[in-house]
Symmetry: C2
Subunit: 236 residues, 2 copies
């Protein structure tokens, strides 16, 4: 099975949570919109007359004849197939709840630079971003990370689900990496209270598929068009 991933080229964005799962397990896939004519293909699937089940937004994954949109949904599908999720229903639902908590966190991270509207530039909402980010760094980010720390602790560790890594551990790696990029000073403080989360980050970085991916040109660098943006005036 060769998967086709559709996501905006040029940013890690939400697509990265899917890329990490595919790369970890060495799955064969095309990052369609980064290839020739790929953007047209992607837009046709969203806006075209032919598509009976158009995705609302990237990322989405084509697997054979089915098209799956929404990160947590894609990972729910891929998880057992890539060896990154248990097969038991109750366990899969628990993992999905954790991944949906990642989704919520990602949206709140995105809003650090876009608190009053995705239709406006960051430059047009700087005072609001400054206000938003105070509560985000003092309360929200520590609350989310602290929750994952508690989940790892209760599972017995070293991963969220216990002894075996799951796709949500890969997402947790990405959250730590991204937050370090966007808020290097604030993350130093936050990380003091989440040693188990940081240990997951380190273990994931060492996995052979992930290490190879991070060293490759397929890994797009963090930049100021993505979810995690380094605006020094927002860090503290």
């Amino acid at each position: 099975m060769r998967y086709q991933l559709f996501y905006w080229p040029g940013i890690q964005g939400r697509g990265e949570f899917v890329r990490l799962a595919l790369e970890d397990s060495g799955a064969a896939y095309d990052d369609v919109a980064r290839g020739t004519g790929g953007m047209d293909k992607m837009m046709a699937m969203m806006k075209g007359a032919a598509e009976k089940k158009p995705p609302f937004a990237p990322p989405f994954l084509k697997s054979g004849r089915i098209v799956i949109a929404q990160v947590a949904n894609i990972l729910f599908y891929l998880g057992p197939r890539l060896g990154l999720a248990p097969k038991d229903e109750g366990q899969r639902l628990w993992l999905n709840a954790l991944q949906l908590t990642v989704t919520d966190f990602v949206k709140e991270i995105h809003d650090t630079h876009h608190p009053v509207g995705t239709g406006l530039y960051y430059e047009d909402q700087k005072p609001e971003a400054k206000r938003y980010v105070a509560g985000f760094l003092d309360e929200r980010a520590p609350k989310y990370f602290g929750y994952f720390e508690r989940v790892i602790d209760k599972s017995g560790g070293p991963y969220l689900m216990g002894r075996k890594a799951s796709y949500t551990d890969l997402s947790l790696f990405q959250l730590v990496e991204g937050m370090r990029y966007a808020f290097p000073k604030a993350m130093k403080t936050i990380e003091r209270k989440i040693p188990k989360v940081v240990a997951v980050r380190d273990r994931v970085a060492d996995r052979s598929g992930i290490a190879a991916y991070l060293a490759s040109e397929r890994r797009i660098a963090f930049n100021e068009d993505g979810i995690f943006r380094r605006y020094t005036e927002l860090d503290k």
Copy 2:
């Protein structure tokens, strides 16, 4: 099977999307936190030492021995059991993508009164809310509703998945009801372009389980502590 739903008492909130599914099919359930000692039970499941898999936030559902958090995840589980989702995997994933788009929309609705922080009162972020809501009512809400309109159209209707109602149709009902409550003037304009969505709202309201529920005391009235709040200064 008697389900136990855990959600904040006093508001419809995100719990309402689950309540509608349970009520539609006449499922037996306890709305735990609205009963005596219920809040303590709910908080113990989130914060207690005994819980091995603590939910991040309400709502969550207890079904036998498993606890399921996150609205879309709960509905994914309940859907086939309540006759509100197909059993085929591809169809279930498509429905889940639609429900996760509802989740995204709900968060953007919530932010109309809390653009710079959940830790602050609305009264402390009124100018920011005013700025946020302009783009929300002009672009985002029409985009989300327009998407669902297109999905109904492509399915052949009258519902999102075609001939049979799903749990996401119940959620769409709630979105229309809530937006009418919060933004009565703006919704008049928006509704002109989404006749199929409005028709879903009407069909859902006529379903016997839903009609009985809406007429009962179990349906909490919309109020200014929930997701959909009527602040006339934000409407247009």
